[in-house]
């Protein structure tokens, strides 16, 4: 087992003929992912990836023809609202949005739509998901993780690679690694993923990689203290980051004084979580 993606995943790539979409589709396939379809409006009927993957004009026709159950989105920010909505309307079980720079208003609308849907959205601005040895969806380099029993959940991209690399150097393997995305408004939270890992038979321990800003880590610390059964190790980036040039009062009214790295670290420690001093320090704490 693992969470979210595995050998059985039937992947659809939205934006498969774009530069990023095509390059990463090749990479995903090399890592064992079963790509069953691509969508590029206007190119329906063509084939890509050695003429083995059919392209469709709409997600709906692609799902009907191929039984795709997971979609990854590589379309430009301008068109991402449309692409995510289309995937939700086509009842994709899981939608992973790699695109960065999507307007917050578009994501607020998507979140509102998701409240009445069963689809799970990961991202946007996510590096994707990897279940080593089985499948990878997104842009995480495939060769930096070994199969194993450590779950990884992160808000960051390259920092996640750094941690995966450190685990591999220490011969520690990963069940699944999930990049939830660095934007303010995202589909799935730390808690959503932590609870999946808690129920996953193949995951024994979890690493959480957070950073300054927002209040998601604070809520995760509370969840770990009260509900989570498996041990968690955390790393929080941004102890030295300069304070943001904040303006207006609404942010502080909503989020209170939370958000600093030290505050997050303290809350994790109180929740019984070991907190690493730097990324390469993580394997020793497992």
């Amino acid at each position: 087992m693992s969470i979210l993606i595995d050998r059985e995943t039937r992947l659809l790539v939205q934006g498969i003929t774009g530069k990023e979409g095509l390059f990463h589709s090749e990479q995903m396939r090399e890592n064992g992912t079963n790509i069953v379809a691509g969508v590029t409006p206007g190119k329906g009927g063509e084939w890509v990836l050695d003429e083995k993957v059919p392209i469709f004009d709409t997600v709906q026709t692609a799902v009907k023809a191929t039984g795709a159950n997971v979609s990854v989105i590589f379309v430009p920010a301008k068109f991402s609202f449309d692409a995510i909505y289309e995937a939700i309307e086509s009842q994709m079980e899981l939608i992973i949005c790699i695109t960065e720079g999507i307007p917050a208003m578009d994501m607020l609308k998507i979140k509102s739509i998701l409240r009445t849907s069963n689809s799970i959205l990961i991202g946007p601005n996510s590096p994707g998901i990897i279940t080593p040895g089985q499948a990878k969806v997104g842009i995480i380099p495939g060769n930096i993780a070994l199969p194993g029993n450590i779950g990884v959940v992160s808000r960051s991209g390259t920092l996640t690679y750094e941690v995966l690399h450190a685990l591999k150097e220490n011969e520690k393997g990963v069940s699944t690694c999930v990049g939830i995305g660095g934007d303010a408004i995202i589909g799935s939270s730390f808690i959503d993923i932590l609870s999946m890992f808690d129920q996953d038979a193949d995951t024994e321990k979890v690493i959480l990689i957070g950073e300054i800003g927002g209040k998601e880590e604070e809520l995760a610390a509370d969840y770990i203290a009260t509900e989570m059964t498996k041990p968690v190790v955390a790393y929080i980036a941004g102890r030295t980051a300069p304070k943001g040039k904040r303006m207006g009062h609404a942010g502080a009214i909503i989020e209170g004084r939370a958000g600093s790295a030290m505050q997050k670290i303290e809350l994790f420690r109180k929740a019984g979580v070991k907190v690493a001093e730097y990324p390469e320090d993580i394997p020793a704490l497992l």
């Binding site: 307007p103 607020l108 960051s156 920092l159 030295t240 207006g248 009062h249 009214i253 989020e255």
Partner: protein, 381 residues
């Protein structure tokens, strides 16, 4: 993108939110002219995008047009938090009966827009929110539905707003929502929203932040940006799509990805070094972008070593190495050491390109950080 109070008030006027009479001035003599038409009590407000303006002497009262000009002259020579004052807003003074707060913002945790109101507006609203949260009311807005009148009534009731102000309050709240939505704002705030002598509700101050990701939908807003309010290096960096924040240390950092850039700064500090900046070159950076990043780093005279930490995913390490080579050739006078750590996509190819340069190499993040710190020992901060 944050915009100035006078710009926010121009938008308010367009949406029929009442504001005090007034005008913006770029020089003190024009202040006198504006003041002539405003009566004998005049407010001069420095237009800067930093907090604590009132306490720093950036809001002052004048009793005549002459005095207004005098005050403006003084103000225009001042700085607030390092930002020079180039514009002042000249307004009629308003007799205030009560100060309220009204704003719409994006609530990250609820992933929803939220409208916030309080009958305890003014400078201390944050403390009020923390110490007496019952005095601050908030209602979530479904962006697919918009703000509804009943929600505004709920707010009015919960802040004990006198019924005679309800109509105006509803009109102002609806206008704020329209502004939030049509400008892709992440914040639009009236603080204080005052009940004035005789004139009912009025926006005495306004703040607004526009979502940078949505600027492509609003090309007309580019003109509202005030470059005087931004650090010149940061503006230069933005031109190349680089995120750069200046810091007081002496080790320049060049990293891909914001999280990794922060982690790199953190480890420097942890091991006893001082980072000179946060610099994220973004994903898939070209050689040209890397050499621009070097120019920005080297323009800070305090930088006495540079630490390049790249974990390639979309970014290719050979492309980064090319960029370093270009930068070293462009700027023959680079006298300071450059520590390089490459990992991930095409790292070996990258190291091969740099072989001849004989740069110090760190094979892990920790090792690279330690090398950079050793190289600046004895260099002043």
């Amino acid at each position: 993108m944050k915009i100035q109070e006078y710009q926010v008030k121009q938008i308010f006027s367009k949406y029929e939110i009442p504001t005090p009479k007034g005008q913006v001035a770029l020089n003190a003599s024009y202040v006198e002219q504006i003041a002539e038409d405003l009566g004998d009590k005049i407010v001069i407000k420095a237009q800067v995008l930093v907090g604590g303006r009132g306490k720093a002497g950036g809001i002052r009262l004048a009793n005549s047009p002459d005095e207004a000009e005098e005050i403006a002259t003084e103000m225009m020579g001042m700085e607030i938090n390092g930002f020079p004052i180039h514009k002042v807003l000249v307004e009629e003074a308003v007799d205030i009966q009560q100060e309220l707060y009204l704003g719409i913002a994006t609530d990250r945790l609820q992933a929803s827009p939220v409208i916030i109101a309080s009958s305890y507006g003014g400078m201390d609203i944050e403390e009020t929110a923390e110490e007496a949260p019952e005095k601050v009311s908030r209602v979530q807005i479904d962006p697919l539905v918009g703000l509804c009148d009943f929600q505004i009534r709920c707010l009015a009731v919960s802040i004990d707003l006198s019924r005679k102000h309800w109509r105006r309050f509803t009109q102002i709240a609806n206008a704020l929502w329209e502004i939030y939505e049509s400008y892709d704002a992440s914040l639009v705030e009236i603080n204080p929203l005052v009940i004035s002598e005789g004139n009912g509700l009025m926006a005495l101050d306004g703040k607004m932040t526009i979502d940078d990701n949505a600027l492509f939908r609003h090309p007309e807003l580019a003109d509202l940006r005030d470059l005087d309010m931004e650090n010149p290096y940061e503006i230069e960096a933005q031109k190349y799509g680089i995120s750069y924040i200046h810091m007081p240390g002496n080790i320049g950092c060049l990293v891909n990805g914001a999280g990794l850039a922060m982690a790199t700064m953190d480890i420097l500090k942890l091991k006893g070094g001082e980072p000179a900046n946060f610099l994220d070159i973004g994903g898939g950076a070209s050689a040209e972008k890397v050499s621009s990043a070097f120019r920005i780093l080297l323009s800070d005279e305090k930088v006495s070593a540079i630490l390049v930490n790249i974990f390639g995913g979309i970014t290719r390490c050979d492309e980064i190495a090319q960029g370093i080579t270009i930068a070293m050739e462009e700027q023959k006078k680079i006298k300071i050491p450059i520590v390089v750590r490459l990992a991930g996509t095409n790292a070996e190819e990258g190291y091969k390109i740099l072989e001849k340069r004989k740069l110090p190499v760190g094979h892990s993040l920790t090792e690279a950080a330690q090398l950079a710190i050793n190289l600046v020992v004895g260099k002043k901060l």
